[in-house]
Every structure is written in structure tokens, then in C-alpha cells.
Subunit: 392 residues, 2 copies
């Protein structure tokens, strides 16, 4: 396998956007190509990550449309779908295509235009990834699964509502420093939990999860340019290497799992990524985790091996995961504040890590970051990918 590096990245601001899906994908793609110092003659292939253009935008063949608009013809182009982990799956396939020796430089762009439909429709769309006969027809949604999951975890490990709110407060604080974030506004524990009016400002969605425990519904796109490491020397910025990658699947319907708290696919993907990178969780200085719901950041931080199982909330309350902590988690603001245009998220996580490893993250820069980790969580943990990135 050839070594693969990331030589460019870019993204649109996440949030409510007027542009259509293709325009969002173009904006992020052009930013990443510019960042990589590539013109249209230098892109060998394109991968698009998208989950819902069919349902949300009544559009198929998005990759074919994009490669034309970007003036990259006749470059091969495919779309990869893996629910909310579509972004990481697209990067995986671009990575393998370069590793195989077929292509030297590949553009990967993930995006979603979710606000084309109402919030309820968006929630129902996301629920299209649940088990048809075992979950969807009974009205299960991702917030309801996450709510039940949170209850179980809280009961078993003594996690409190305050811990969930701590994730939100931390990630909103980080998001306020990220010009690409959907929500660039800090919130306080008092405002979202302690004051009497908090129950109005932060209403229950699927108890114990309240509104500030759930990511917003966002439009947006993010892009990276991958390149064979041996050809990455001339790029304007120092290359960031894909040191390790892992992917694992788990039982589709959550109720069928032996232990619903045991997110095996997170553990399996992280383990594989660390093994390929020949690194361990202690070698990581910055992580982007898939906090579609606040509880997930806590649990993923354990399953990825950063903290012992049942101790993630302790690390959180000690400030270990803050920007100035031992292991800053979601400096970007995470899905919670940066937003979660589903197809974009896995690419946006990698983009944030590249900026952090290059030292380009501005006010939210983590100090001394050499190795970064990200986890992109598909389904309710039924298809998870992890990457370990390293600067040279």
C-alpha cells in the first residue's frame, strides 16, 4: 500500500444556506483544491459523500454533475453513502484508490442540503437508516434511540444531566471560535440547565436529552484533497498523513444487541486505526468525535480508548477535553455546534484535524498537536469509521 497524505482542505460555513447541494459541494471543493495548490488538470478522480440527495433533494448522480461543474472532466467520479458516516467512507475509498497506485490525487467532498425540508422531515429522513421492520415502523428516530441509550448509560455509570450539558457548553464555546460553525454562540450551564427558564429555552427532545444535547439540522459541505505521499512534496502546506484507518459494523437494530451500551463498532474501528498507525490513544493530542448527541461524545471517548469505560464523564468534568485540557475533543465545536450536514461530517472532522495539525486553527488552536483522531458514527453505531492523522 502506498502512503497517502492530505494536501488540501476546505469547507463552507455550515448552517442554513441558500445555495443548492451542488453549489455547496463546489464551494468546498474549490477551497480544498486552492488550498492544495491544484488546478483542474491535477485531479485524477472525485468522490462525493452524500446520504440523502435522493430523499431531500430528489437528485441522483451528484458526483457526475459535480465533476462537470468543476471542469474536471473526464475524471472518474462516484458517490459513497454510509449514512452519517458517508464522509469517512468516501475518504476511505479515495485513500484505497491512491494506495492501490491507480490515482495520484483525489478530491473528496461531502455535503448535505438538509434544510430543503422541514425539521420534522429531516428527522424522519435520518430515521431512514434505522431497521425497517424492527425500528422504523415503530416510530423510532435517532433522538429517541439516543435518549434511551443515554438513560441506560447514566443509570449504569452515574452520569448526570449536568455532564451532558457540559459537553454542550464546551462544544458551543469551541464553536464560537470557529467561523465555519453553524452555531457560533457560547452557552452557559445556567442558561441551558440550572435557571428555571432553562426548561423553556432548552426543552426536552427525547428525555433525558434536551435540545442542546442534539446537533442542529444544517446545510454544508467539506472537502479534502488526498495525494500519494511521494508526490505531496510540492504542495503549499506540509502534508498530513493518513497514518491509520479502521471501519467496523455492528448489529443493525439496537434492541437486538447483547449490550446496547457496548458500541463495538466504535471500539473496532478505533482499534484498527490505531493498529495501522502503530500508535495508541495516548499518542493523540486532538480528537474530533461524532457528538450528534452529547452522550455520544462521552461514550466514544471511552470506546476509542482515551478514558476507561464509565470514566468519560469524569474526564469531562475535570476539563481534560477542553481546548486547554490534556486531550481536547471537538475543538471545531463538533456536530453539536459546527453542525451536522450528514454527508459532510466525516470530511469536516478530517478537515478540522488537518487545520489543527498544521497550526491553522486560529482561536481554537490546540497546542503541540502531532497526531489527531476522528470517529465518524454511522447508523446508531452500526457502521463506524476512524482515522488517525499525523503531521510530518
Amino acid at each position: 500500500m502506498r502512503d497517502v497524505a492530505i494536501i488540501g482542505c476546505g469547507m463552507t460555513k455550515f448552517g442554513r444556506r441558500e445555495e443548492d447541494l451542488l453549489e455547496l459541494l463546489m464551494e468546498a471543493s474549490l477551497a480544498a483544491m486552492k488550498d492544495a495548490g491544484l488546478d483542474h488538470r491535477s485531479v485524477d478522480a472525485v468522490y462525493v459523500a452524500n446520504m440523502g440527495a435522493g430523499i431531500l433533494n430528489y437528485q441522483t448522480g451528484v458526483a457526475s454533475a459535480l465533476v462537470d461543474r468543476l471542469n474536471l472532466l473526464p475524471a472518474p467520479a462516484d458517490t459513497v453513502e454510509n449514512g452519517p458516516a458517508s464522509g469517512a467512507s468516501a475518504i476511505k475509498n479515495a485513500f484505497l484508490a491512491i494506495a492501490s497506485g491507480l490515482y495520484d490525487s483525489v478530491l473528496v467532498v461531502g455535503g448535505e442540503k438538509m434544510r430543503a425540508v422541514t425539521g420534522w422531515e429531516a428527522t424522519d429522513f435520518v430515521a431512514s437508516m434505522t431497521h425497517r421492520q424492527g425500528e422504523y415502523i415503530y416510530g423510532v428516530t435517532l433522538p429517541s434511540l439516543a435518549g434511551m441509550f443515554a438513560r441506560l448509560h447514566m443509570a449504569k455509570y452515574g452520569v448526570k444531566q449536568e455532564h451532558l450539558a457540559m459537553v454542550a457548553v464546551k462544544n458551543h464555546e469551541n464553536g464560537a471560535k470557529n467561523p465555519y460553525a453553524h452555531i457560533q454562540q457560547a452557552v452557559t450551564m445556567e442558561g441551558i440547565l440550572l435557571r428555571p427558564e432553562a426548561v423553556v429555552n432548552n426543552p426536552p427532545i427525547a428525555e433525558p436529552l434536551r435540545m442542546y444535547d442534539c446537533c442542529p439540522v444544517s446545510d454544508g459541505a467539506a472537502a479534502v484533497v488526498l495525494c500519494a505521499a511521494e508526490k505531496a512534496k510540492d504542495a503549499p502546506h506540509p502534508a498530513v498523513h493518513i497514518a491509520g484507518f479502521g471501519q467496523a459494523t455492528d448489529i443493525h437494530a439496537v434492541y437486538q444487541r447483547d449490550d446496547p451500551l457496548d458500541l463495538k463498532a466504535v471500539r473496532g474501528a478505533a482499534k484498527a486505526a490505531f493498529e495501522m498507525a502503530r500508535l495508541c490513544p495516548q499518542d493523540i493530542q486532538v480528537a474530533e468525535l461524532h457528538d450528534a448527541f452529547t452522550i455520544l461524545e462521552i461514550v466514544e471517548s471511552e470506546q476509542a480508548g482515551f478514558f476507561p469505560v464509565g470514566q468519560g464523564h469524569r474526564a469531562l468534568e475535570e476539563g481534560a477535553t477542553r481546548l486547554d485540557g490534556k486531550l481536547p475533543i471537538n475543538p471545531s465545536g463538533g456536530l453539536k455546534a459546527r453542525g451536522h450536514p450528514v454527508g459532510a461530517t466525516g470530511v469536516a472532522q478530517v478537515t478540522e484535524l488537518v487545520w489543527q495539525l498544521r497550526g491553522q486553527a486560529g482561536e481554537r488552536q490546540v497546542s503541540q498537536a502531532v497526531n489527531g483522531f476522528c470517529c465518524n458514527f454511522g447508523g446508531f453505531g452500526n457502521n463506524v469509521l476512524a482515522f488517525v492523522l499525523s503531521r510530518e
Copy 2:
């Protein structure tokens, strides 16, 4: 790049099926795994090819659901979408993943459950791959594009309505010998064109194309197992090698192309596939072309290099593309008679070639086939893939 072989294949009968999408994918997958002599412990990863589960079946994350149902956990699984060329794109990505060295054996399964909606809705769904602002909003559909394309080609090269009907007659004759075909019934030139009542039995769809010039709307799935060639020795059947592969994109909106008759992406994909295989069109003994409309078989047979441009219809009338001809095209019955469940088609083409190269094609067996070629046509030729397969 490691050499990659196909060690197993299988498919469902195409047509109107009672089963849901996941059941169709399972049926084809299990058939391919059995054919390859693999049990669930021997599959390293899964790729699903599907174009429309979102729109047609309101379902996402199909690959995650499938890998669980097949008892292949925790194998990585992704879905690849490239319109009607989704099947070939999924095979491409599995091929590169094995070529890279990461996986040894990968299951690729393509499928579509199109009859979940009405015929009109299915046509509108397929039109979701056209250019949004330049084609779709003006009511362009794939049959209408193909009709206009046929008119132009007929005017330029002296192709007649009879030539289109000859493709249908040939492919229905082949399909009648294929137990997996949607339509297993021969038709005659008299019945679909010459007799007065033909205009009723075979009504115009988008002139000059009539009903028998268009593929049916089908449900179905097809699957192949790919394996690193060095590990294919123990498989029950002789390995068929992926000797060459090519993919190319073209201008998205047909009206913007300099010459709408010039299917550059077909030519580019075929050229790349032949170059990688170090073979030329004269080395091919059997081909599966993407005859979603009869005119496309004629034109692809020229653009792929089998006949000079403008001479494909001559070869057809001379019988060169019949089962007993010099270059049998679409022995399976093609999209015309086997059917076209869009996500399945590229995989079904490869499956037919494997059966032909192994000598397992029964009544429709081509004699002395050593090398096969297939062309999977996405959009209206905006994203095309080609494979050259060779038996050992």
C-alpha cells in the same frame, strides 16, 4: 497493484419481485458466496451498489443493514451510487480496495427495487440523474433524451427503425434462454414492427423509440465475490481476472455537448480498460453493453471500438452480434430483456461475462470465449465504466 480475480457470482431472477430490496440483495449475495465457496468468516468487506433506495424505498444505510443480515459483522460495508452505473462503480472500488492490499476478498452486490413505485414514478426517478436546471425542470426524461439521440444518429448514419428492432429481436431471443431474465420471450420483426397491429403492441414511447426499444422496469439483484488473485487458487471455479478497467465522465447536460452523438465517456472508459488489459477490441469474444435503449447497443458497439463509427448497424444486420456471430453482444438478453434494476445492472453484466468465460451459460453459451468486455452507462453517458475480463 495486486491482480484481482472474480471467484463467485450469483443473481436473482429479474422482474416483478415480491421481496424487498434487502431480501433481493441477500439472495444474490448468498448465491455468489456459495458459488465462491466462501462462508461468512471469509468475507473481508462488502460493497453495495444502489441508485434509488432513498427515493424508491425511503431507505438509507442499506450496506449496514445487509452486512448484519448476512452475518458478516464486523466487516466494513459501504454503498456506492453512480446512477445506472452504480454496479460497475461498486466493483471498481472493491477492485481497488483489494488491489491496495487492504482486503483479500470482497462481496459486491447491486440491486434495485424499482417496482415499489408506478412505472411513471420510476421514469421520473431515473430522470433524477439529469441536469437539474438544464434538463429535469423542462421535463426531460431518459427515454426522451434517447429518442432525440436516436433521431440524430439515424439521420447521420442511415440507421433505420428496423435496425433498432433488430437489437430488440436479438436480445429477446437471448433473454428467452436466460432463466434470470425479466422477459424470457422471443419477439419477431413482424410482431413488433412490420404487421399493422405492431403499432398497438409496440407503441411509441419517445419517437423513434417504441416500447420494445426501451428496457423494462425491473426489480432484482446481482452479486460477485472479488478476491486477490494470489488467493483465488482454492476457489471451486477457475478464476476470472479483472484484466482491465476504465471510467470516464462527460458533460452532464446532453444539449451542452459539442456533438451529442459523440459519447466520449464510453470511448474513454473502453480505451482505458483495453490499455490496462493490454488487449484490443479484436481480442474480445463476448460483450455485454448497456442497451437501456436499443440505439445505445449500436452506438456503444462503435465507441468501444468493435466496429467503425456509423457501422454498428451494419454489423447488426449481418448477424455479427448474434450468439453465433463473430462478436456476440448481450448474450444475457441485455437490459432490454434481462431487465434493468439500475443498481444491479453493472454487476449483472460482469456476472454474465463470468458465466460465459467459465462456459456455464447454458443455451446461450458463446463458443470459445477467453476475454469479455462490458460497458455500464451512467446518466446519459456522463459517467461510464468498462471492464475487460479474462479467463485463466
